[in-house]
């Protein structure tokens, strides 16, 4: 109980203190993170014996705030606390020059608290509240440098994408609560049959938004506008993990149909996001696309019915990807850019950091004995044994090859080029990154005991799967190191670089409403009038035409590759999709604005007209009342 409280409240208290005092935020943040980590370790030790620690605080009648530390949730809490502590250590160095440090550390800590609440929640309502809070905190963090060009737009985009997907979580939670009659998560997992299928698909939708799965991957690439520690914490190990965590926790309930859908979404993301990472021209965007791709691999494991493999990969990935982001942050610190062309040779400048980056990269590619070697093998084995192996195994293998390829490419770019003199030593940043690299290298050792503690048993791998995993990893690395992406991807390069506008059709559903919201507000707001009406609408129209042009380009590229088969059909359906969706959304926006204006016009200030409207209202109510008895 006390450890549960400490895990959640220590970061929260430290965050509020940092915001209130507005001085020494780094020290407060590190103390808060350390206390949170201590709580998480104690929790982990407490549940290692096999008994869950639970707490239930009165909130609403029949709706307490339930917290539960089971082996699964305590492990996740430990992962979150560890990564948070390291990233905050690093951030103390990275943000040293920023005048807004109290706001940064305060928001980061509040995010950590919300994330721990989410991980440890034993109740759907608590989980929903935490889910909302991490979404809101991530909006604030991505938009931290809100003065910079394009940043507010990126934050808004991330917020809208994930909020759209949140609808799935709300519906699923209410469905499960309605059927089970309780909001306790463990009790609702007994749901079976069609409700479980529907709930599973709704949860998948929610997870797709948070974990940036195709076709909702776009926001994650743009979220890189935030400070690098934010990317390392939120967009590798925590926020993005929420989707996968949701599916891992509800896996016992999911029926075959939902599992297949999860596996296929995951597989598609592993490949498509992998291609995007390979084509990326910016190191942080490369890592972001890689994150989406790795979560795709985890979803494959959930879809294959082995959520434990997904959990192991989640843990390994958390350490690896945050280490990679932190490395990228050091290079960014040196060259003041994350553009791959600018970063050429940045690794030679700082061999120590580069070595750490390389260890993490090789770990992600799945080389033994590094952490992801074991977890990726577990995923491949799961895909092989699954009833839908015909779907899942090729996708998992393709995802693994691509992992090696884009990591190989990143290493090559960072290594080959002219070194420059390093600016200054970065001790704090190196410490934070070093611990994570060490974890990335050695975490594989704890997987066996962890499996035992979670009561799960993975099949002995034999030799085929490890050999396969190693082969694809090495093949990928070699391809990425030796061949330029243009050679490797051929006609796929352009669409991959643009984030697959065809596959990314969600953009039309989600981002246009962003514009819509802005346009709704613009009528009144001088700032928005400057930015959106003059800048935005013009830019928006240009962007729209550019997007259409781009979509056309990629279509042509596809044509050259595939041939002219089915051209007219594909084109027509694409047009139909784009045009109708656009028209529907713009139509809706226009109607809403018109309605709002009309609502204002009704309020004319002329009392006789308003009285007439009131009388008309009375007549309407009378009509309804007179008609109603006939329907009862």
């Amino acid at each position: 109980m006390i450890w549960l409280a400490l895990t959640i409240l220590a970061p929260l208290g430290a965050g509020l203190t940092a915001l209130a005092l507005r001085r020494a935020p780094e020290a407060i943040a590190l103390i808060g993170a350390a206390l949170g980590l201590a709580g998480a370790i104690a929790l982990f030790a407490g549940v290692a014996g096999g008994t869950d620690i639970t707490a239930s605080l009165p909130f609403l009648p029949d709706l307490p705030i339930r917290l539960v530390a089971s082996p699964l949730t305590a492990t996740l809490a430990l992962v979150v606390a560890t990564v948070a502590a390291m990233v905050l250590t690093y951030a103390a160095g990275y943000m040293a020059q920023d005048p807004e440090r109290p706001r940064f550390f305060g928001t980061m800590l509040m995010f950590v608290a919300a994330m721990q609440l989410l991980v440890l929640s034993g109740d759907w309502i608590t989980l929903l509240a935490a889910w909302e809070m991490i979404g809101f905190a991530s909006y604030l963090l991505i938009g931290f440098w809100h003065g910079r060009n394009g940043v507010p737009g990126a934050a808004m985009r991330a917020f809208l994408y994930t909020r759209t997907a949140d609808l799935g979580l709300y519906l699923a939670a209410f469905l499960l609560i309605g059927i089970a009659g309780t909001s306790e998560i463990s009790a609702t997992l007994a749901t079976t049959g069609t409700p479980a299928l529907i709930a599973g698909l709704l949860l998948l939708f929610a997870a797709m938004g948070k974990s940036a799965q195709v076709p909702m991957q776009d926001w994650l690439m743009r979220a890189m506008a935030g400070p690098t520690p934010v990317s390392a914490l939120l967009h590798s190990a925590t926020l993005v993990a929420a989707g996968a965590i949701l599916l891992i926790r509800t896996a016992p309930m999911l029926p075959g149909g939902a599992l297949l859908a999860i596996g296929i979404v995951g597989g598609a993301t592993a490949v498509i996001a992998g291609l995007m990472a390979l084509a990326a021209t910016d190191l942080k965007r490369l890592l972001a696309a890689s994150t989406a791709s790795q979560y795709g691999l985890m979803l494959i494991a959930v879809g294959a019915g082995v959520p434990i493999a997904a959990l192991l990969h989640l843990i390994a990935h958390a350490a690896i990807k945050s280490a990679l982001f932190l490395g990228a942050g050091v290079f960014q610190h040196d060259r003041e850019s994350t553009d791959l062309d600018t970063l050429a040779g940045a690794g030679r400048t700082r061999p120590g950091i580069f070595a750490g980056f390389a260890v993490a990269a090789l770990a992600l590619a799945g080389l033994p004995p590094l952490a992801a070697f074991y977890s990726k093998d577990a995923i491949l084995a799961a895909a092989l044994d699954s009833p839908s192996a015909a779907w899942l195994l090729p996708l998992a293998l393709a995802g693994s090859v691509l992992t090696g390829a884009y990591m190989g490419r990143a290493l090559k770019v960072l290594w080959s080029g002219t070194p420059e003199k390093p600016h200054d030593p970065v001790p704090l940043m190196a410490v934070g990154m070093g611990v994570l690299v060490a974890l990335a290298a050695t975490l594989g050792l704890v997987f066996k005991p962890l499996e035992a503690m979670l009561g799960a048993h993975l099949a002995e791998p034999g030799w085929i799967v490890p050999a396969m995993g190693l082969a694809v990893g090495l093949a990928g690395l070699a391809l990425g190191w030796l061949l330029a992406p243009a050679r490797l991807l051929g006609p796929l390069l352009a669409p991959a670089r643009n984030g697959f506008p065809l596959a990314g059709g969600m953009d039309a559903l989600v981002v246009r409403p962003t514009l819509a919201l802005a346009r709704l507000c613009d009528r009144l707001d001088a700032w928005i009038i400057r930015r959106v009406v003059l800048g935005g609408i013009v830019a928006g129209t240009q962007a729209l035409s550019r997007r259409i042009e781009r979509a056309e380009d990629s279509l042509l590229a596809l044509l050259n590759a595939v041939g002219r088969l089915n051209l007219s059909l594909g084109l027509a359906s694409l047009r139909f999709d784009r045009d109708t969706i656009d028209r529907a959304i713009f139509g809706l926006v226009d109607r809403t604005i018109a309605l709002g204006t009309r609502a204002r016009r009704l309020q004319s200030g002329l009392i006789h007209r308003e009285m007439a409207l009131t009388v008309a209202g009375i007549a309407l109510v009378t009509g309804v009342l007179l008609a109603a008895p006939f329907y009862f």
């Binding site: 909130f59 109603a628 329907y631």
Partner: protein, 455 residues
């Protein structure tokens, strides 16, 4: 004996009436501070006297006035709300002429609101509507400028028309049951036309008080013309009282008359219209006025579910408590920041604590967990679903998306850098005190919602 029991049960109301009279006396000596002190003491005493009576379920004076769960909690919500409003009034118009009159009128209007909340009889409802109305007209007209005069005039004309429709319609119920008591309304079973006539009366009369669409036209003008503190007061106290009265009247009416459907339609129209109109306002007071019109639609969801869901009455009470706290708080911040949307520019940066409080109020108005407003909306949505009005609940949820748009328009500019000055004004201490109390209520009561009445 009977009389003595009745008077004992009426102790809070009598205390408040006595305090109001004393306030008028003190105002004759132009002792504005004394007026305020008497008012606050009276409100505090009445609140304390209410506490032991929360579990009482009785009627006084031959069933015409009810001392029950609704009226008990109504006092616990309205009396502290009025006390906070008095502080805001003091902060805004301290030292100006007729300050004490305004204070005593506020307390008298609250007395009318208590009448509405405990009404067991048609005549008590009429008295309550008239008492709250007459006082409010004068309060709106207080600044004596063109805008206030016009707003008060409009408010008066609307009140006169809707009031006469209400009294006329209620006579049908009297004809149908032979009694003015609401507890006799069960006898209306089968008399469709008579039921409808009385219902229209109630919907028009109380709908005007609660600013439901299409009886809301007076509200934005009145709030804009009146002092901000009076707008804050009218938007919470008289409105909440209207919905308590709705609950008192309609819980005795057979549900088969189709009135839940009619009210559901009004609820849907009210929340949608309110937020749509709020989206295009530039004046902060008008914007909050429209947003509180929209909140009336949520209140009405609880009324729709009366008699069909255990969540209905607790929903109205809990949401009322939340609404009083968050709306008063938002108005208090407006009082400090200024009446125009542009005045909020950079406000959160220059006044970080007040900015954070405003964000809490706005998020709570949107209904984000775990704030108090969420708890209220959660009860009301549950009530609508349990009563079989799933479509209304869905419209309610969709409207909270629209609400986020409305409130983000306030939150975003607050954290922009700007050169706008935000000087502390005279009386800021009282206003800030009100903000502190309301923000604590919004933050903490939501977490401790177990103490509130449940289903």
């Amino acid at each position: 004996m009977e009389m003595g029991r009745d008077l004992a049960l009426l102790a809070p109301e009598l205390t408040l009436a006595a305090a109001a009279m004393l306030m008028i006396v003190a105002e004759m000596f132009r002792a504005a501070r004394l007026v305020l002190a008497i008012g606050l003491a009276g409100l505090a005493a009445a609140t304390i006297l209410t506490l032991p009576m929360l579990s009482v379920d009785a009627t006084v004076f031959g069933g015409t006035y009810r001392i029950d769960l609704i009226s008990g909690w109504a006092k616990l919500i309205l009396l502290p709300g009025t006390a906070l409003s008095l502080l805001l009034v003091r902060a805004e118009i301290a030292g100006r002429p007729r300050e004490g009159s305004v204070q005593s009128l506020v307390v008298l209007v609250t007395l009318g609101a208590l009448m509405l909340s405990g009404a067991g009889d048609m005549m008590v409802v009429v008295i309550g509507v008239v008492m709250t109305g007459l006082g409010s007209f004068a309060l709106v007209a207080w600044p004596r400028d063109d805008a206030a005069t016009e707003a008060a005039m409009k408010y008066l004309v609307f009140g006169a028309v809707t009031g006469s429709v209400m009294i006329y319609g209620l006579t049908f119920w009297f004809g149908g049951t032979g009694s003015t008591l609401f507890s006799e309304l069960g006898q209306l079973q089968g008399q469709t036309l008579v039921t409808i006539a009385g219902l229209i009366a109630i919907i028009v009369g109380l709908g005007y008080k609660g600013s439901l669409v299409p009886f809301h036209f007076w509200a934005p003008d009145a709030y804009q013309g009146a002092p901000v503190s009076i707008a804050a007061y009218l938007s919470v106290i008289t409105k909440a009282a209207a919905f308590f009265a709705f609950a008192q009247v309609l819980r005795d009416l057979p549900r088969d008359g189709g009135w839940p459907l009619a009210l559901a339609v009004i609820a849907a129209a009210t929340m949608t219209y309110g937020y749509l109109a709020a989206l295009v306002q530039t004046n902060l007071v008008r914007l909050i006025a429209y947003s509180s019109v929209a909140q009336s639609g949520y209140f009405l969801m609880g009324v729709v579910a009366l008699g069909a869901s255990g969540f209905a009455v607790p929903g109205i009470l809990v949401f009322a408590a939340a609404y009083v706290a968050m709306n008063l708080g938002a108005f208090a911040v407006v009082l400090l920041a200024g009446r125009d949307l542009g005045d909020l520019e950079g406000f959160g940066r220059t006044r970080p604590w007040l900015g954070a409080a405003m964000v809490v109020f706005l998020l709570s108005l949107t209904g984000i967990p775990p704030l108090f407003g969420f708890v209220g909306k959660f009860y009301l949505l549950s009530a609508a679903v349990e009563a079989g009005y799933l479509w209304l609940a869905i419209i309610g949820v969709l409207n909270s998306v629209l609400a986020l748009g409305v409130y983000l328009r306030l939150m975003v500019p607050m954290y922009r850098t700007s050169s706008t000055e935000h000087p502390s004004e005279v009386g800021a201490v009282l206003t800030q005190g009100t903000v502190v109390v309301t923000v604590l209520a919004t933050l903490l009561i939501g977490l401790a919602a177990g103490i509130l009445p449940g289903p």
